[in-house]
Symmetry: C2
Subunit: 208 residues, 2 copies
């Protein structure tokens, strides 16, 4: 449980930082910059909830996050967006994967985190502005579609690869996320398959 809250907390804290950086360096206008920053600040709000929940459980948030810093930082380094559209798609895809994990977690665990998951998932609509902007950009420049679709696949590929790395290093965490009673690699793969399917639906929403 502490592992789960720890990985989610660092995921939110690092997403907050990278989204803010992308907003600042890549947004084509101050309004776009504010829109992506707004999303980043919502991530920070989730981080705060997770950190407080860890403290409430008597855990040290810093120690709970530490095992996941390298994998998440590696994901961000390998997926640094090169332009504004890539930044938008990354925000949307990254958020989507995080929300899927919250949902997987909520299916299996205790009430304290279930309430937290509700609060976080209430923010799911926030990234809808991304869908509008990406669709508008692709209408104006259909040639960009292939390139962005490739980018989205790379995002999820790198996420799965870091996810497998974390699952291998923290088998209890992985077991917690898969169906009760299951503890083999096949079940973990099935969970990743579910996440991949959810990702596919988001790609359709983006027009990719």
């Amino acid at each position: 449980m502490v592992d789960l809250l720890g990985v989610l907390a660092y995921a939110e804290l690092s997403a907050f930082a990278r989204m803010t950086e992308d907003a600042t360096s890549l947004a084509p206008s101050l309004a776009d910059r504010a829109a992506l920053s707004e999303l980043a600040v919502a991530e920070y709000g989730h981080f705060r909830l997770l950190r407080d929940q860890l403290t409430e459980l008597g855990a040290d948030p810093e120690r709970a996050m530490a095992p996941f810093v390298d994998a998440l930082d590696a994901w961000h380094t390998q997926t640094a967006p090169g332009d504004w559209l890539q930044a938008l798609v990354k925000a949307y895809v990254g958020e989507g994967i995080a929300f899927d994990f919250y949902r997987e977690a909520a299916r299996r665990i205790d009430p304290p985190i279930a309430k937290l998951v509700d609060v976080v998932l209430a923010d799911e609509g926030r990234s809808e502005f991304v869908v509008e902007r990406v669709r508008a950009a692709l209408e104006a420049d259909p040639v960009a579609t292939g390139r962005l679709a490739l980018w989205a696949r790379r995002l999820v590929g790198e996420a799965l690869s870091q996810g497998q790395r974390v699952a291998a290093a923290r088998p209890e965490l992985a077991r917690m996320l898969v169906e009760a009673g299951a503890d083999d690699q096949a079940e973990i793969s099935r969970m990743f398959a579910r996440l991949t399917e959810a990702h596919g639906k988001r790609m359709t929403a983006l027009g990719l």
Copy 2:
């Protein structure tokens, strides 16, 4: 009025971005990183208030901020902190200068902004953690005091120089901030002197 809200809005938005970046790249621990990120998120909250106030007044927030982007970005570029202590001092000094401006503004202008100023100034205590951390660091390493004091002087020097640049380009804004009826450079200088004095008090608080 739109100029005043615009400069404050961009000051908050850019402070949010830079503080987040400094927190991410310079904090020695995840707890420190969260503490400075928390301050950054509060800045974003101020930005949101200012932007909404601009919209309420019928102004375009983006256009209101645009004239001040260069001066504030220049300040941040010239004062990129080289280490964690410099980042803390910059956050404290930068916030302090901003709060002084809010107070100067509140002394002279309309009720709508006066309420906003109250909300922003209620956050003034947030940066107190900086005072504790800087004092503790200087107790552990008194030799750093001179170097940090120099850094703080550079921060305020660069701020005054960008401030003069903005005042020269937007004389109505400058006049709005100085004593009623005054419109000469001497009055503007007196305001800067007040800001400098407030800065001195903050330096004493930091032990610099």
